[in-house]
């Protein structure tokens, strides 16, 4: 079979990176950045997700088709959230 065998070293490095990111997200939470707090938390979460998917879930070594189906769920979720939020946030515009 043509499966890619990832060295243990890589897995451990990814794990350490994940723990560092976890520490970072908790640490950032103790600093007041206003709106940026949410942004920082989400950016870190996305980084962690990418690490898990690319290495633990072997997406990095997978074909284009897998990549498409990895992205498709998140794309559709973005549609759901964006258009729903689009309604909620603009409701007050017309009638002050």
């Amino acid at each position: 079979m043509t499966t890619h065998i990832v060295p243990v070293r890589t897995y451990v490095a990814v794990f350490v990176a994940l723990l560092v990111l976890l520490a970072a997200t908790v640490a950032v939470n103790f600093v007041s950045l206003g709106e940026l707090n949410v942004l920082a938390a989400m950016v870190i979460a996305v980084c962690k997700m990418c690490l898990v998917m690319l290495f633990f879930m072997h997406v990095r070594y997978s074909g284009r088709l897998i990549w498409i189906y990895v992205c498709i769920g998140f794309y559709w979720l973005a549609i759901l959230i964006a258009l729903t939020l689009g309604d909620v946030l603009t409701r007050a515009w017309l009638r002050p």
Partner: protein, 542 residues
Amino acid sequence: MTNAEPVLKLPRENYLNANYGIKSWLLTTDHKRIALLYLVSVTLFFVLGGIYAGLIRLELLTPYGHFVSDESYNKLFTMHGLIMIFFFLIPSIPAVLGNFMLPMMIGARDLAFPRINLASWYIYILGGIFTLTAAVTGGVDTGWTFYTPYSSTYSNTHVITMAAGVFITGFSSIFTGLNFIVTTHKMRVPGLTWFRLPLFVWSIYATSLIMVLGTPVLAISLSLIGLERLFHVGVFNPAMGGDPILFQHLFWFYSHPAVYIMILPAMGVVSEVIPCFARRKIFGYHFVAFSSLAIAVLGFLVWGHHMFVSGQSIYAGMVFSILSFLVAIPSAIKVFNWTATLYKGSVIYRTPMLYSLGFIGLFTIGGLTGLFLATLGIDVHVHDTYFVIAHFHYIMVGGAVMGYMSGLHYWWPKITGRLYPEGWGRLAALIIFIGFNLTFFPQFVLGYLGMPRRYHTYPPEFQVFNVMSSAGASILGIGYLLPLIYLLWSLRYGRVAGPNPWAATGLEWQTTSPPPTDNFSETPAVSDEPYNYYDMEPVPHA
């Protein structure tokens, strides 16, 4: 009957006689047998949903609600909607015809996951049992849309049982869709590239995308209703700071694309039938293929047009309106390409062709009236009236059911090995077309006059159109009974069809009818684009 044709015989060994006994059916992993299991079960649900429809039309003969009580009437239209949508229309073409034909059209021995396929059917049946339980123990009166807070707080009927039924059935369609997607990607025979695929496969693929990505959102919103009813706290309860409109967002995020789950496969059937009986390669293959994908993707961006007057932000309404117009374009492209295929063809009027031509006509009317509903200014007036009812029945009955009947007649010889009586087939198609228009066209007028939907009693000046509609419904009912009779008759007495009675292209016709369990005695190879009718023999006489 003049030319002496060789006497055809059924193949000695096929998937129907490979083994016998109830177990060989209930434990089968053969996609063809599972398709037949679905065929029987969706037909039963269609009959049940039809009975509900008949009772509704009977009640609406008079404006005063003589026949059943308010409560019973509300249950009638709720059960009619739920059963027809979740237990007939959504599984009809994909799970019956798609299940049977998809592997054959791509030259595979079976779907990628045969056991998951069988499990899907059992899940569907389990969901059906919940639904029947809800129906027998008193029914549900929320409307198939389950709008909150009525469904979550106020209704006294068996909402949880029903929601569970729909939730479970949802997983059946998720697994069917998953199976089709993977099969289409991974199981095609050598040489069968994407642009050599029959258009039915394209449309089933697009449908599967919607099933896989939309259905879970319906599942989670129904679970939230269930939780809310159980624990009396929840996200949709305005008394708790919840927003009932959120439910509408989540519900329509699935339920609008669900309309495309119903219509896309029918479009796929029509794209097979039109070239075959026009004896001409389909016009604009690439445009028809990509329009299916475009509908699947754009279909997810338009759900808010069900909510123009719901208290949704009017700016969101504006965005949803323009997106709804956009999704009409690929449908228009399909209609024009089908019509252009007829040009300089050599048209034969066989039963599947009549249904498909009927489909194009009725779908055109359904699609154009959809534009009225996407137009914000007009939707304000016709929203939640019979105009909407007429519109979506033109799409779902005039479109999806016509397509299903077309496909069923087209592939019936392949499925059973026998031909149905052609004359009866044409007659039924004609009756259905007439009955359908008489039932639903008056409802457009009723809708613009202002008759709201889901009305048990109505002002007497609307009666004339309601009587017309009910009369049409009885004709339509007879129209649907005929195929049930002559198709069953043909199982035993029908003429033997032979492998390719329509002289059609496509891999499914290159094997015996009925096909063997493994579909093909030797794996076929493909080296050409589909619908090459120029090089085919003429169609044998009926």
